[in-house]
């Protein structure tokens, strides 16, 4: 199952020209600077903008092709806008019911109760939108979009209008969406952190064109793409909690390349977590170091090296099959005679837990 989207949208000084194939499962993020066309693309997918030159197929449903345009209200989708955009004249409950009442009973797969429970808004139902905080409003907006049992959930920077604390409040809910409900999500963002946390598939957009589209782990570590060359470049690693060390208050995580140790986290053994390894926190040695304070050392094979500025290089490694980035000095790379195919040890100074 895939989502096929082809659009050519001419807006005078701006042209959006995309031909995309996205997996119809998990979270796909459209990522790029403001003005790159990501919101326009999302609106075209929703049918909120009607452009003649387009083709859109979601699973086996064709929503747009030459001579066919399914209007937005006939598309089984959910849309979360940047501002919550709740109906000010309706209570939270009536806002939630607005969509549900317009969906045939046979097509309801997500119940209103389920959406309310998932977003934990049960205590807000009788309130009016103007009495809610920004974070609460956005949670209601997400629940409202989910309650129509969408076959595709579209989210336009759902966190951009919120402050840092509110973002932290909402993110866990978005993460739990695709674990608890099997609904594909297309999500628009200009925040690398947000994408690192929730994206499975990543589309890089730049001035109306797709620069790259692929698995998020792959795109973040491809040395020919902007994210890996950024000063904050990082690799995203999927890991499983394998155990805890109560004596030293540590948690062990297994990933494709070995074991990672982090300070004790309250996580169930066996649960899935996502880690971020910043390129500047990874150093390389030729032999397994002993007598070091660094706990996280694992073997890896150099895949590719790219010069970065005059003093630094970025090295792409494969630890198992997990791509990892290391940013080191050009001098070190020369001293260690690093080249693709060479086996090394990656020492990781710090690991950030994303979920």
């Amino acid at each position: 199952m895939t989502i096929e989207a082809r659009f050519r949208i001419d807006q005078g000084d701006f042209t959006l020209d995309v031909d995309l194939s996205l997996p119809a499962q998990g979270v796909s993020s459209l990522f790029g600077p403001s003005g790159c066309g990501k919101t326009t693309l999302l609106r075209a997918i929703a049918g909120l903008e009607h452009h003649r030159d387009g083709y859109l197929k979601v699973g086996d449903m064709v929503w747009q092709e030459a001579g066919l345009f399914v209007p937005p209200h006939q598309r089984p989708l959910g849309y979360v806008f940047q501002e919550a955009s709740l109906f000010p004249h309706l209570s939270v409950r009536r806002n939630l019911e607005y969509g549900v009442r317009r969906v045939a009973e046979s097509e309801r797969r997500v119940s209103l109760e389920q959406a309310i429970e998932l977003l934990e808004i049960g205590q807000l139902l009788e309130r009016k939108p103007d009495t809610l905080s920004g974070g609460e409003r956005q949670r209601v907006a997400i629940a409202r979009a989910l309650a129509v049992s969408p076959s595709l959930l579209l989210m336009d920077e759902p966190l951009a209008a919120l402050d840092v604390n509110r973002k932290q409040e909402i993110l866990p809910y978005i993460e739990s969406l695709h674990q608890d409900l099997d609904i594909p999500v297309i999500h628009v963002s200009h925040s690398p952190d947000e994408v690192a946390r929730i994206a499975d598939h990543l589309v890089l957009l730049e001035s109306g064109h797709v620069v790259a589209s692929g698995d998020v782990h792959e795109i973040f570590t491809r040395l020919d793409l902007p994210p890996a060359l950024d000063s904050d470049a990082a690799a995203i690693i999927e890991a499983v909690v394998s155990g805890h060390d109560e004596t030293y208050h540590l948690t062990y995580l297994e990933f494709a390349g070995g074991r990672v140790t982090v300070p004790r986290e309250d996580l169930r053994v066996g649960s899935q977590v996502r880690l971020k390894l910043a390129a500047r926190d990874v150093s390389l040695t030729l032999e397994h170091q002993s007598g070091t304070s660094i706990l996280n050392i694992f073997p890896a094979v150099i895949d590719e090296i790219t010069a970065e500025g005059s003093a630094q290089v970025t090295v792409r490694l494969l630890a198992g099959d997990a791509p990892v980035l290391a940013r080191i000095t050009k001098k070190s790379a020369a001293d260690l005679a690093l080249k693709p195919g060479k086996a090394v040890y990656a020492q990781v100074k710090s690991v950030a837990l994303l979920s």
Partner: protein, 226 residues
């Protein structure tokens, strides 16, 4: 105090204002909605036509209506040939005149209210499966409620106060087309200042109370939406 003729004039005035306002709300809502949403490049022409009664002397409007609706006019002639009677000097003629005369007072507040909603709430409703008509009734109209209230009160009050158009096309037939403003004029002509005072004072008070209601409610709506 008021005599029987004054009370009849009051009843006709209120009936005329009520019917004209209802017709204007019914016809004006779709027109105002269309004006608020369209991207038609010549929309300004239609807006100018709607605003015309604001600046036109009522006697000019009344004159053209008289010519059109009278027995020799196109509409009046048609009515006569169909076995009816010309619309000039009838209550129906007054309603037609009032609807045209008070049109901007109803259309403009509605158009402003619809414009103020913006596209977003309607887009949200579309993504929640509401068809265009459904969106209009469940989102646009409730959100434009203060505009409807303003439009109804202004349309009503303005019709109550009209004089020139009524005099031109309605004449001054007691019990049929004699409205309050004309009754006042008659009283003044007849030097019956006490009657004129009662009617004028009553109209003044009513107009003031209606406007107080509009401004007070608009303030409440604004505070609710802020």
């Amino acid at each position: 105090m008021l005599n029987e003729a004054d009370l009849t004039a009051l009843a006709i005035t209120l009936k005329l204002a009520l019917i004209s306002t209802l017709i204007l709300l019914l016809l004006g809502t779709p027109l105002a909605w269309w004006l608020a949403r369209t991207r038609w490049r010549f929309k300004f022409l239609l807006e100018a036509v709607v605003a015309l009664p604001l600046v036109l002397p009522p006697t000019v409007l009344g004159f053209y209506l008289l010519v059109t609706l009278g027995p020799n006019g196109p509409v009046g002639g048609l009515m006569e040939s169909l076995g009816g009677r010309p619309l000039a000097f009838t209550f129906t003629g007054l309603v037609i005149g009032s609807v045209i005369y008070s049109m901007p007072f109803v259309i403009q507040p509605l158009q402003d209210a619809f414009s103020a909603i913006g596209r977003r709430p309607l887009e949200v409703a579309a993504t929640l499966r509401a068809s265009p008509l459904d969106r209009f009734f469940t989102v646009a109209i409730p959100l434009a409620r203060p505009g409807f209230f303003t439009a109804a009160v202004l349309g009503f009050a303005h019709t109550v106060g009209e004089f020139g158009v009524v005099l031109m096309i309605g004449g001054n037939i007691p019990g049929e087309t004699q409205v309050l403003s004309i009754a006042i004029y008659d009283h003044v002509e007849g030097m019956e200042y006490v009657h004129a005072h009662w009617l004028s004072g009553g109209l003044l008070l009513m107009s003031f109370l209606l406007l107080v209601a509009v401004y007070a409610l608009n303030r409440k709506f604004r505070m609710v939406q802020a």
